[in-house]
């Protein structure tokens, strides 16, 4: 089985890289980009039957830094 983990900076945490991307889009002439948030997608190839709670533990313990990041798990 496969799972996909989305890690994003929490709302309210300033994202300097996202801001830089937003400026770059503006300078390419794309108007109306009000905000860009940059995150990570992590794909996991797991033993069949791994439950979502285990994947959540992986996120809590390593994949996300919950001080600044939130995560979402998608089992594929």
């Amino acid at each position: 089985m496969k799972a996909r983990v989305y890690v994003m900076l929490k709302n309210g945490v300033l994202d300097p890289q996202g801001e830089a991307v937003r400026h770059a889009l503006g300078s390419l002439g794309f108007d109306g980009v009000h905000g860009v948030r940059q995150g990570k997608v992590i794909e996991l190839d797991l033993a069949d039957g791994t439950d979502e709670a285990t994947v959540a533990q992986m996120c809590e313990k390593l994949l996300a830094n919950t001080v600044i990041e939130s995560y979402r798990v998608e089992v594929l």
Partner: protein
């Protein structure tokens, strides 16, 4: 004082740290990240700067889950001293020994220069060699030194006098211009600037000496 300097793959300030500690009179042992135990009767563990594990995933994230870090956390919980500089500070926040996190500098650039710091508290073994309000110069060399902490924790850090150093001019966007913070028991210090790169006239400055001498003196008088 017995000190251990941790070496991760990608550490690059480990030997500078050992030189600085030895110059202050410490007995230093280098410790490999795969070691599950610290040397006997270690008083201080220093987590050096560098790019442990290539900064993969997040700065300090992989290092913080290495076997030696379990031992470092146990050492801190027993009341042992821990010093984390630059990547070492990132590692300590990732282990949870220090609050907050270090994000990409707001200017997005890697910053490598000597900066002025204000000594915010002298109430720690790390800072008692300074006078409160002193301005001292340490080099910084980081891409991810933007200290972030939630407003409630920031307030509690301020209330408990746990902010050790602030930048005279905020180079990286850190909340409250924070350059270094102490643990609740004041025995764990994490800071982005490099005191070990300011301990010899050849470095261009010696303002870091007082930090190492203060630490060593702590054990000389004990």
């Amino acid at each position: 004082m017995r000190a251990a300097v941790v070496v991760f793959p990608g550490s690059n300030c480990d030997r500078d740290m050992a030189v600085a500690l030895r110059a202050a009179g410490a007995d230093v042992t280098m410790v490999w990240h795969k070691d599950a135990r610290l040397p006997e009767a270690v008083d201080l563990v220093a987590v050096p700067g560098g790019f442990s594990f290539g900064d993969y995933l997040r700065c300090g994230a992989i290092a913080a889950r290495s076997p030696i870090c379990t031992a470092i956390v146990a050492h801190a919980e027993r009341g042992g001293y821990v010093l984390g500089v630059c990547n070492g500070f990132q590692v300590l926040t990732e282990t949870g020994l220090l609050p907050g996190a270090l994000m990409r500098n707001t200017g997005l650039k890697f910053i490598c220069k000597t900066v002025d710091l204000k000594v915010e508290t002298t109430e720690s073994a790390f800072t008692e060699g300074y006078r409160a309000g002193d301005t001292i110069a340490y080099p910084v060399a980081h891409h991810d030194g933007n200290y972030t902490v939630d407003p409630q924790t920031l307030e509690s850090l301020r209330d408990a006098d746990r902010i050790a150093f602030t930048y005279a001019e905020n180079p990286n966007g850190s909340v409250g211009a924070i350059a270094g913070v102490l643990s609740e028991n004041r025995r764990v210090l994490g800071l982005m600037p490099h005191p070990e790169r300011a301990v010899d006239a050849g470095h261009g400055g010696t303002d870091g000496q007082a930090l190492f001498r203060g630490l060593v003196a702590q054990f000389a008088t004990a």
